[in-house]
């Protein structure tokens, strides 16, 4: 079977050699944790503890703020010392619960082992996923129980697990798939059962051949689940591009995967779902990659949610030269952070550190109209034209050019010879375009 892919895209160097051979290490839990109330898309979680309260490991400390929201749990036992604004890995300031670790790691109730989890009803399964506070762990962080509750007129026949990990540097999904393939397959089976889907796919890029081989072997007995080996091309891991590669279905512009009968989940999410179903374990830790040419010992770490970045970097031996850029997430779509204070959240797939030489010059030159951004755009948009409209404040024109269909993958900015900050302009334009859209309604 030849490798699948999509039209457009780019071929950046993947820089995965820094950390793809490093087994997952468990990060020793820090003294203080900062659990943001926003780690997902939707309403913020609402704290149910007060300053001074004693909490146990796994105890719910914030309740979902609505249906499209998730609860938060404490990754350690200890004391709530503060609830207030704190730096967030999206580069913003968000409310967070500060917990002082007492070093005892007392669970709220011992973990159970429910071997019959697969015979639970689909509603019961969804309930457990919702209680565990699981959201999409690939980056966007959409609450998983919402994604698993499509309206009745949108039957789902296919579930795709996203193990593409096309962002350069990041290897957390790679290591998780390599070290926990069985659990991931179980997670996929659970999702398929909840949705009543008949087909399952696991999409993996060809730079992870070891994982492809393992999954192919393990899936021999599962006739309805297939591995999709994807060509090396960024953004292969973008939802719509992966769906196209696996099923040849095109998600309608402005639509959702469920419009073509598909739900996509990240492999890390599948792992968390398995743990929630079998052990009633809430989502309190995740795998994250700390990498970059200047990091002394790049690592894949299992970190408690809320661990400050400064401590993660220290655990990786610091940097060999001055840090010039800190990126939360991958370098193509991640956020640049001003300092090391922000904590890891449920969606933190990695932190990348860059030295002075690696930082991209952001001085814009005149557009040459070369059209390289057009060739690179996986959504077949005209990025330079859209950016032009935004610069001139013509947001309605930008909407006609499909600004809201942009997935912000950064391919256009990557290839632009004039170093125009296309994604930045488009992000600004999207805010204005969304305002216009709401006015129309």
């Amino acid at each position: 079977m030849c490798a699948k892919t999509f039209k457009g895209g780019i071929h950046p160097h993947d820089y995965k050699h820094f950390s793809n051979h490093k087994a997952i290490e468990i990060f020793p839990t820090p003294e203080k944790l900062y659990i943001p109330l926003v780690q997902h898309i939707g309403r913020p979680a609402v704290p149910i503890v007060k300053v001074g309260d004693e909490v146990k490991k796994g105890q719910k400390i914030a309740e979902a703020g609505g249906f499209v929201s998730i609860p938060m749990h404490s990754p350690v036992s200890g004391k709530v010392t503060k609830i207030g604004p704190y730096p967030h890995p999206t580069g913003t300031i968000q409310h967070a619960i500060e917990i002082e670790n007492d070093g005892k790691y007392d669970w709220i109730s011992e973990l159970q082992d429910d071997e019959n989890y697969y015979s639970l009803s689909s509603d019961k399964m969804k309930e457990r996923i919702q209680e565990a506070g699981i959201c999409g762990m690939g980056g966007a962080g959409f609450p998983t129980h919402v994604k698993l509750s499509p309206p009745e007129n949108r039957p789902i026949d296919t579930v795709i697990l996203n193990g593409v990990e096309c962002e350069p540097y990041l290897t957390s999904d790679h290591r998780l798939m390599l070290e926990h393939p069985e659990e991931i397959i179980e997670g996929l089976r659970i999702i398929m059962k909840v949705l009543g889907a008949k087909r399952g796919y696991i999409g993996i890029e060809l730079n992870k051949k070891d994982v492809i081989i393992i999954f192919k072997q393990m899936l021999r007995d599962h006739k309805n689940i297939n591995v999709v080996s994807c060509q090396l091309r960024y953004p292969q891991g973008a939802e719509k591009q992966l769906i196209f590669a696996a099923t040849k279905r095109k998600v309608p512009a402005g639509g959702l995967p469920m419009d073509v009968g598909v739900v996509v989940q990240n492999v890390g999410t599948a792992f968390a779902i398995y743990e929630a179903l079998r052990y009633h374990k809430p989502l309190i830790e995740r795998i994250t990659t700390i990498s970059g040419a200047i990091v002394n010992e790049p690592k894949n770490l299992k970190v408690p949610i809320g661990t400050p970045l400064s401590q993660l970097l220290e655990f990786c031996g610091g940097t060999s030269e001055d840090i010039a850029k800190i990126i939360s997430g991958g370098p193509m779509m991640g956020f640049a952070l001003p300092d090391l204070e922000a904590p890891a959240t449920k969606t933190t797939s990695g932190f990348v550190f860059m030295g002075e030489k690696e930082v991209v010059d952001t001085t814009e030159a005149t557009c040459l109209r070369c059209g390289r951004c057009v060739d690179a755009c996986p959504m077949n948009l005209l990025p330079s034209f859209i950016a032009d409209k935004v610069k001139n404040g013509q947001y309605e024109e930008a909407m006609k050019l499909g600004i809201l269909d942009c997935i912000e993958c950064g391919s256009c900015g990557y290839v632009c010879p004039s170093h125009i900050q296309l994604v930045q302009w488009i992000k600004i334009g999207k805010i204005e375009a969304n305002k216009l859209k709401r006015q129309d309604k």
Partner: protein, 359 residues
């Protein structure tokens, strides 16, 4: 801790900028310049250097006088000067490339605001200006393989051809542009004044042996368009680097191939010598290096294809029925002007686009 950089994603960038693109184009043009030296001698290099120096000097002067940053190091003026010189006969007077470059840079480029804002290809505008002002200097001065050895005028050549014998044939053909010759013969055939020798010459022009000469460049012609092989080598660099894309050159050459097969022969429809039309004249130079000029060609994918096809159509029309033997530069200029319109009329369909249906 030191302050760190905060900017919008992406935080990686391909090793590319305007300067690198332009200087790569210069490098890609060098094989053709070397070929010109081999076939026409040192004068072709002198003409090219004059064109480049005049272009760069003009750009610096205009930017200095208008108090704008001087950007001559980005290489775009070098490309303009080179392309202009490449469109001149090798034995043209020394001041022709100088005047042409000055016009190309001031009127063709800087008057609109410089790189990125010019509506048409500056080098081609410069050539059109020279062609209109000094037609004699622009259409004579063809060199043979031995530099400076024989300078033939079109009318003299035609005369010799119709009356002369086959012995002189090879020598004569190499001393003017072959397209010129082909057009003369076709014209004579249509007018009914051509002898049998003219038909023989036309068929020899389209023979495989002669196509080989055309391909390698052992013919008369402008400095830069002489060797198709050298130009294709240079173009391959640009394609490999993704600095030019297939739609314009393939659309252009494909259209010329089809239409000249259809109407470019002397034995009725669909008898035209395809390879002769592709490799003679400025088509290869135009299709890979001038029609693909980033600033003046469409951005949309379908637009680029339409642009290439339009260039091809106009080129064949001018070559077949026009007053000039060659139509590449005028075709590209005309399509340059149509570029904003083409971009507007060819919006792209977003991935997953569907017509609005009732839900």
């Amino acid at each position: 801790m030191n302050l760190v950089n905060v900017s919008s994603s992406p935080h990686l960038h391909e090793q590319v900028n305007v300067r690198r693109v332009m200087w790569t184009v210069v490098i890609a043009l060098l094989p053709a310049l070397i070929a010109a030296y081999l076939f026409f001698g040192w004068r072709s290099i002198l003409i090219t250097i004059l064109g480049v120096v005049a272009a760069v000097g003009t750009e610096a002067l205009v930017q200095f006088l208008t108090k704008r940053p001087i950007t001559i190091s980005d290489g775009s003026a070098v490309v303009t000067g080179m392309l202009l010189a490449f469109n001149l006969p090798p034995l043209t007077p020394w001041w022709i490339p100088v005047v042409g470059s000055i016009f190309a840079i001031t009127i063709g480029k800087q008057i609109f605001g410089g790189l990125g804002y010019n509506p048409v290809n500056p080098a081609l505008l410069g050539r059109a200006f020279l062609m209109a002002s000094w037609p004699i200097q622009m259409t004579t001065g063809w060199a043979t393989k031995l530099a400076n050895a024989g300078v033939a005028t079109v009318s003299g050549l035609k005369q010799t051809l119709i009356t002369g014998g086959n012995a002189q044939l090879q020598n004569l053909i190499t001393s003017a542009t072959p397209l010129n010759l082909a057009q003369q013969i076709r014209g004579d055939i249509v007018a009914g004044t051509a002898g049998d020798s003219a038909r023989t010459i036309f068929h020899q022009l389209s023979s495989l042996d002669y196509i080989k000469e055309l391909f390698w460049g052992n013919i008369g012609g402008c400095i830069g368009e002489v060797s198709a092989a050298a130009l294709i080598l240079g173009a391959a660099i640009l394609v490999y680097k993704h600095y030019i894309e297939w739609r314009i050159p393939i659309g252009y050459i494909g259209t010329v191939a089809f239409l000249s097969w259809m109407v470019g022969g002397i034995d009725g429809l669909f008898s035209g010598p395809i390879l002769f039309h592709i490799f003679s004249g400025g088509l290869i130079l135009g299709a890979f290096f001038m029609a693909t000029d980033m600033v003046t060609s469409p951005v949309t994918k379908n637009g680029r294809l339409i642009f290439g096809i339009g260039c091809g159509l106009l080129t064949v029309v001018i070559r077949t029925w026009g007053g000039y033997p060659e139509g590449v530069s005028y075709s590209i200029l005309i399509m340059n002007i149509a570029t904003p319109l083409i971009d507007k009329l060819t919006p792209q369909k977003t991935f997953g686009y569907r017509k609005k249906s009732n839900k």
